[in-house]
């Protein structure tokens, strides 16, 4: 059976069985892929899944209106599954909050309970890594002078309109009041330019340090094409190197920023 047929069959089944009230998946709209909320088994046939599905649907599990529909079964790639595990580790999701229609790399893993996600990831997708092109890009940038890097990012951040699509697309950005919206005192300048854009983009990346699961939804969401994954992946690598942990594999994981080890790196502290 084709992967997509199995996925559709499972979606129809969980709805028919009442195990889930809504299946969150993808639909095709021309070349675009848009989310599809399937609430009746007969509509499961509209689900699609292919490489064009860039959005991380885990993001919908926190949306109040979606929650009102009842328990969801969410179509999730390995990266999105890592997001689910991250959300579990941060008490945003618990055991029976959702089901997962687990789409792997080149195979389909069927309907999983949330508790089964981390074991699957550890077994099959422990080595998920950013693309070599991205890593090369980071290396290239890191090799430049601080002034060159500043110029590179100044050009990128200048495009930012502060639409916060990056934030909206990210399952990890689930704060109901983002720090950028805090105005007593004002943390980050509201103006979509210069220092405000620098601070916003730097802090956004920092708040995902040790939490980014590498799905790339933020970068895909950015209407201005800012290469946000350069920042996310840089920090992900740093965290992996220094603290030997990768986000989204352990539902019991302690937050990287929020825990410590006496042996942590400190050669920069003189």
């Amino acid at each position: 059976m084709e992967m997509i047929d199995a996925l559709r069959a499972d979606a129809a089944k969980v709805l028919a069985d009442g195990r889930a009230k809504v299946v969150i998946g993808y639909q095709a709209r021309g070349d675009h892929r848009a989310p599809l909320f399937v609430t009746t088994a007969d509509r499961a046939a509209s689900l699609v899944y292919d490489d064009a599905c860039k959005q991380n649907l885990a993001v919908y599990l926190r949306k109040p209106e979606v929650k009102l529909l009842g328990k969801a079964a969410v179509v999730a790639s390995p990266a999105a599954m890592r997001s689910l595990v991250l959300l579990m580790s941060e008490s945003q999701l618990t055991g029976d909050d959702a089901l997962v229609l687990a789409v792997g790399v080149g195979e389909y893993h069927g309907v999983l309970e949330l508790a089964q996600v981390a074991p699957l990831l550890k077994e099959k997708y422990a080595a998920l890594a950013p693309s070599p092109e991205l890593l090369r890009e980071i290396e290239k940038l890191a090799a430049k002078t601080p002034e060159e890097r500043a110029a590179f990012w100044a050009k990128q951040f200048a495009k930012c309109t502060r639409c916060y699509a990056c934030r909206a697309a990210c399952p990890g950005c689930y704060c109901t009041r983002c720090i950028v919206e805090k105005n007593v005192p004002q943390w980050i300048s509201t103006a979509a330019a210069g220092h405000g854009n620098y601070a916003w983009n730097v802090i956004r990346a920092f708040h995902l340090a040790g939490r980014c699961t590498g799905c790339g939804a933020c970068e895909a969401a950015c209407p201005q094409g800012i290469p946000l994954m350069l920042l996310n992946v840089l920090l992900g690598q740093e965290v992996e190197k220094e603290f030997e942990t990768k986000a989204g594999y352990d539902p019991e994981a302690k937050p990287v920023i929020g825990s410590w080890n006496p042996e942590d790196e400190e050669d920069f502290i003189k």
Binding site: A34, P35, E65, C163, T190, A191
Partner: protein
């Protein structure tokens, strides 16, 4: 007939820049085409639909509209004049050009906005007749057309199968631009290419009517499920004009900023006391549609949508206002039956 070869468009830009214009044009940088200020060497691309709209140059995303200095307890307001350089926007899409008419109306409705008007007065818009479109384009559904010239001071028509362009001034401003172009434009003959065809997706009048009666429709929740609450659509929109005023201060000075804002964000209507009259995304999406297809029609007699399709192209969650309108249209038809 003023004609220019397609590959000489940069020459036109250079000539206009030389004549003291700030030249804004669709420039290709890497994978994307954006409306930006032309600089020597930049590649003008009239085929792709620019990511951003021409609005950015009349109503920027952030702007200082007030300033004061502080010296000890001494507080001194300063006069801030609009920054309004003489500008020509080359090859703006008709949907962007026609959006200017709505912006004009909004910024001069109950209050004449000094900053917008100064820039509007200094700006000449040379639109482009569309010979390309994509599946998100729906100008024809909202009263526009690929070859419409509303809001434009001049128009560029692609000709001879793309080898050249005809520049046709429409207003005095447009003529001034043509004159400033000087030798960059040659007098000659060319055959204008046919504009692209954009299918009609819905009946805008009917949508407006339906909206008037369906503030509480269950449809809103359904069509807004995917919406994630961000400003991607509004900030790409050529007509969205909501803004937020913010004061930011250091020890020595403070500025009043006018920043883009959007009804898509929860904070837009959040009250200080915690109440939010638009409590969920359904209410916010409804506002977006209502504003464009009902309130503005009612208030200014104009739709707040020119069918450029940017919002749908850029939406990270696959939302499309055209889609919503079509569903409304269908719901209406079903109801009539």
């Amino acid at each position: 007939m003023k004609v220019i070869e397609a590959n000489k468009l940069p020459g036109l830009a250079a000539a206009l820049a030389g004549a003291g214009y700030r030249v804004v044009a669709p420039i290709r940088d890497g994978g994307e085409v954006r409306m930006v200020v032309w600089s020597p060497g930049a590649a003008i691309d009239t085929r792709a639909i620019p990511v951003n709209s021409a609005k950015d140059f009349l109503f920027p995303k952030a702007e200082i509209i007030g300033r004061c200095t502080l010296d000890g307890n001494d507080f001194r307001p300063e006069d801030v004049k609009p920054v309004a350089p003489k500008t020509v926007i080359l090859a703006a899409r008709p949907c962007d050009a026609s959006a200017m008419l709505l912006l004009d109306a909004v910024f001069n409705w109950d209050y004449k906005d000094e900053f917008f008007n100064a820039r509007r007065a200094a700006t000449t818009i040379v639109s482009l007749v569309c010979t390309t479109a994509d599946e998100q384009c729906f100008c024809t559904s909202v009263g526009g057309a690929p070859d419409a010239t509303a809001g434009a001071d001049g128009v560029l028509r692609q000709a001879d199968g793309g080898r050249s362009f005809i520049l046709e001034p429409l207003t005095e401003k447009g003529k001034a631009v043509a004159a400033a172009a000087g030798a960059a434009l040659a007098e000659g003959q060319a055959k204008a290419d046919a504009p692209v065809e954009v299918p009609v997706h819905f009946d805008a009048k009917a949508v407006t009517e339906w909206l008037g009666e369906n503030f509480e429709s269950p449809l809103w929740r359904e069509v807004s499920l995917a919406c994630l609450s961000c400003g991607a659509c509004a900030y790409a929109c050529p007509t969205c004009h909501c803004f937020d005023l913010q004061d930011e201060a250091t020890r020595a000075e403070s500025v009043r900023l006018r920043n883009w804002d959007t009804c898509g964000l929860a904070l837009f209507t959040a009250h200080a006391g915690g109440h939010n009259p638009r409590p969920d995304q359904a209410a916010r999406w409804r506002q977006r549609v209502m504003h464009k297809f009902s309130y503005l029609v009612e208030r200014l007699g104009r739709l707040g949508c020119t069918g450029c399709g940017r919002c749908a192209r850029l939406c990270p969650a696959g939302m499309a206002i055209c889609e919503t309108c079509r569903e409304i249209d269908e719901a209406r038809k079903a109801a009539v039956k």
